[in-house]
Amino acid sequence: MSVEPNPNGGVPVEADPVGADFDAPAQTPASPQQKGMFGISGTGDVSGFGGLVRRRPELVGSPKPYGGYFDEVTDALEEAYPGFADAIEKVVVDRGELTLHIVPEKIAEVAQIMRDDEALRFELLSSLSGVDYLGSDPRRLHICYELVSMTYRRRIRLEAAIPAGASLPSVTTVYPTADWQERETYDMFGVIFTGHPNLTRVLMPDDWEGFPQRKDYPLGGVPVEYKGAEIPPPDQRRVYQ
């Protein structure tokens, strides 16, 4: 975190007030990149004597050794999978969890190795979910695969990132449990899984348009009337970040 003098003193001169405006477009709470209390951008410091500029930490891979069983797992994967160097984009060890960022096209292959190799034996796909990193990553849709090895009692996460509208192979041939979970990820985020037996909407009605859990999809509430007040829907209320 560096300390730099901020030209405007950090006060946003042309920003519109964030408030209870019914016609305001859906406002997903913005990431607090450089916002302080009460939504002030920059430092909010009007004195001009320099302020604290908080930079968003970059997501960097962790250096080896990773610690614990993580080294074993990555070494076993490297041994078993010849295309390891091409497939793994990044290895992140954070809060006691290992995340392998995989090139999307290779995800089914990697999943197969993870399940079948003797040293890995990740038999169970616990969870498959999507995350939308709109604004902070050009490949905005990330799909997280949580694998559990019952033999070795370990957990690991595989993450694949694709831009909106792209597709990646389905892992249903390796883990049939991914069937409905991939359908849910498609339903909510619009991620297309090639090779899925039946990629249709599972939670929303079949003819729904749009992908609700994307960040640019509005929450869709209505203003609520009370006696003497009207409260706007949650995505249009004042946000304290």
Binding site: P205, P218, L219, G220, V222, P233, P234
Partner: protein
């Protein structure tokens, strides 16, 4: 049946009306429409501890064709909305609807794309019951109020004409049927008090005053 159309308006029709309404209210058969958490509280109301069987409601008919009370218990999602409407349409007249819980009454805490903001967007509702989830006793209160409303319902076109005539003459009961809290209705003194308050337009104030009287620190003899 036809008898309600053939009878001329008068004492005979009124008696038949009262008899038919009494039969209807004493054995409401609910259509199972439990959706979410409120359904569990509805089941708990049917369970031994709170026992809806005391009012003839222990039976919940799965088929809407045989039901006359639909308790919409739980959040109604966009996908479920046409189903709600279809079940309501399949119920024969006379039918009533209680929307149980805040999600059914107004969308509740889920003010978003997925939940219909109140089942009254889809079907007409007779009693709204707030709560998240409402206690079984609150559901019982709502059912008792529904019974009162049913007791006062007109029978057939002639019955409706009689009701209109009564309204035109101003011979309506002071307290609308279904508006008095069940704990007041049972007691003659309190129900007279409530009726008086309704006449003056201060029934909620009366309720608050009575509640305050029960609080130990507000009693005059409190040390």
């Amino acid at each position: 049946m036809g008898i309600e159309e053939k009878l001329p308006s008068g004492i005979l029709l009124t008696s038949v009306e009262k008899l038919s309404n009494w039969a209807r209210k004493s054995s409401f058969w609910g259509a199972t429409f439990g959706l979410a958490c409120c359904a569990i509280e509805m089941m708990a109301a049917g369970a031994p501890h709170y026992d809806l069987g005391r009012w003839g409601m222990e039976v919940f008919r799965a088929s809407p064709r045989q039901a006359d009370l639909m308790i919409v218990a739980g959040r109604v999602s966009q996908k479920m909305a046409p189903v709600v409407r279809q079940i309501y349409d399949q119920m024969p007249e006379p039918r009533s609807v209680i929307s149980m819980g805040v999600c059914a009454s107004s969308g509740g805490m889920f003010n978003n794309y997925a939940i219909v903001q109140g089942v009254d967007h889809i079907i007409p509702v007779d009693i709204y019951l707030p709560g998240c989830p409402p206690r079984p006793e609150m559901l019982i209160d709502a059912i008792l109020k529904m019974r009162e409303k049913v007791m006062a319902a007109p029978l057939g076109p002639t019955g409706r004409k009689m009701l209109e005539a009564r309204k035109a003459e101003g011979k309506v009961p002071i307290v609308a049927p279904g508006a008095m809290p069940s704990s007041y209705r049972a007691d003659k003194v309190r129900s007279a008090e409530w009726t008086q308050a309704v006449k003056e337009g201060r029934e909620e104030q009366l309720r608050i005053e009575n509640w305050m009287k029960l609080q130990p620190h507000m009693r005059e003899d409190h040390k």
